[in-house]
Symmetry: C2
Subunit: 307 residues, 2 copies
């Protein structure tokens, strides 16, 4: 029996000024999943975690993504998948994308890489749709392509893999619920042309900074006057997390996805670890449970752990 | 007597999605100016063209930029400048910036390069202010730095020189008047968050495409749904110029600055020349006088022609 085990990483979307287009992949946490080819055109799901996710393939994110693949192939085969989720659903670091992307990348390996990355992104987005009821590639793109990605357009899907220098992320996940729908609802529908210009100037500078490895420019362009001011209210101690991280040497950062996770970028592992300490200190003084992750940017995306 | 002659190039600002931040320099047309140090703290101006520009330094763009330099130096010296403008004022290809930048670059050479590029940009922007009554670096930046530039912020001034692959521009200047103030007035003050996201995704992709030399991505990201739809009405036959240029192989293009010039980018000189022909054809059927320029992107900006 052919089988493969992959690690699908957490991802950060909505990178500061790059709302709805810029994302990157983390080295950890990762979901682990093992996929086997079976001789029946169906998807069988087993979860090795405590998140009580649905096991019917039509309701499971990985399941829907795999069904989308089965729809595209002629052979009378299917998949059996065991998922050990370690990225908590609702954390704002791409838990559902990891499920979907991990599943389709593993399936594609078992099918001798017959699909392109862009095709895999389309399959994964069908899985993502179960979670978000929307067509988004913000987390799918970095999970699948690795590194930093820019989604230029969703319809048609156009994903750009960006060049980037060594970078480390510190991510705190406060264990509170921020519903994506609520986080969407508080966004302005109209913004001033002036602030839009400021935003796209920063996005352009951010992409240039990543490509040149210009950390100072990167720091200057990590600013967002549109989304962060309205969404930060949903995240306890956001301002403190940010100001203390900057004091500790962070280049910048903000809300991961639609929250509640908050991320900061650093030039060195040492700085990222100093930021971890200061984030832990801030949240240790609260009643809120939390996790903190320190991770280099994951240039690869999904990794094969065993074949 | 120390003297220097420089060529200050025309520039294209508001590069499609990069409204108010992205610009590039052309090889031609260029203003030519000769600067001499004199033993009196003043600026003397002579124009070798027919544009009837004011000769009082306080009212002349190059004059104001040079006075800003004199304000910063201790020595009892001044400048005598002869300007042969070849970039028609009001053409939308950075005529006033060329005057200001050419003057300050020439002055800095005579002063043994004592000022940084960013300082020179500040001096030139004081000159620009005479023309636009606003603080802008859209044309100053590419004229001074050369190549493609991104103005991340005007206050404080932050200019990013972008990497870019070989590119050719075709620019048509219809000899009609489009007032910058009028072109500003018809802009929306508010835009939808949705179209802003589309714009900044394109700006990010455009910068990535320039840095990677990815011409296909460059073509896909050269789209603007915010400014072009309202401003193109000021430019006769804009839609025809654009659609014929794209048919001739242009990567994309749009309004240069606030018009009336229209530019198109191409991967090869041959394509740029084919576009020139089709632009000439379209405007030959009208009563409007016009000039067309074909030019490689000017990587250097202002050039010294004689010392």
């Amino acid at each position: 029996m052919k089988e493969i085990t992959v690690l699908a990483p957490a991802t950060v979307a909505n990178v500061v000024c790059g709302f709805d287009c810029l994302g990157f992949a983390l080295e950890n946490p990762c979901d682990q999943m093992t996929l086997r080819l079976i001789a029946e055109k169906t998807v069988k799901i087993k979860h090795l975690d405590d998140f009580n996710l649905p096991l019917e393939p039509e309701k499971n994110i990985a399941g829907v993504a795999l069904l989308a693949i089965l729809d595209e192939i002629e052979e009378n085969i299917g998949f059996e998948i065991e998922i050990a989720k370690r990225i908590k659903p609702g954390s704002g670091i791409g838990s559902s994308s990891a499920s979907a992307v991990g599943a389709v990348v593993a399936a594609n390996k078992l099918l001798d890489e017959r699909f392109s990355l862009l095709q895999l992104a389309e399959f994964a987005m069908k899985g993502e749709f179960v979670a978000s009821q929307g067509r988004h590639a913000d987390n799918v793109a970095p999970c699948l392509f690795g590194g930093f990605t820019l989604v230029r357009s969703v319809e048609p899907l156009d994903i750009v893999k960006l060049d980037f220098p060594p970078l480390f992320a510190t991510v705190i996940h406060p264990q509170i619920e921020v519903k994506t729908s609520q986080a969407r609802k508080i966004l302005p529908t109209e913004i001033s042309l002036k602030s839009a210009i400021q935003a796209w100037s920063n996005v352009g500078a951010l992409v240039a900074a990543l490509s040149k490895g210009d950390y100072e420019l990167l720091a200057r362009s990590l600013e967002d006057f549109i989304v962060e001011p309205v969404r930060k209210k949903l995240i306890p101690h956001f301002d403190e997390l940010k100001s203390e991280s900057l004091k500790s040497g962070a280049l910048g950062g903000g809300i991961s996805g639609s929250g509640p996770s908050v991320f900061m970028l650093s030039e060195t592992l040492e700085t990222a670890q100093t930021i971890e300490k200061s984030m832990r200190e801030i949240y240790s003084n609260t009643e809120i449970d939390f996790n903190v992750y320190v991770s280099e940017i994951n240039a690869e995306g999904v990794k094969v752990s065993k074949t």
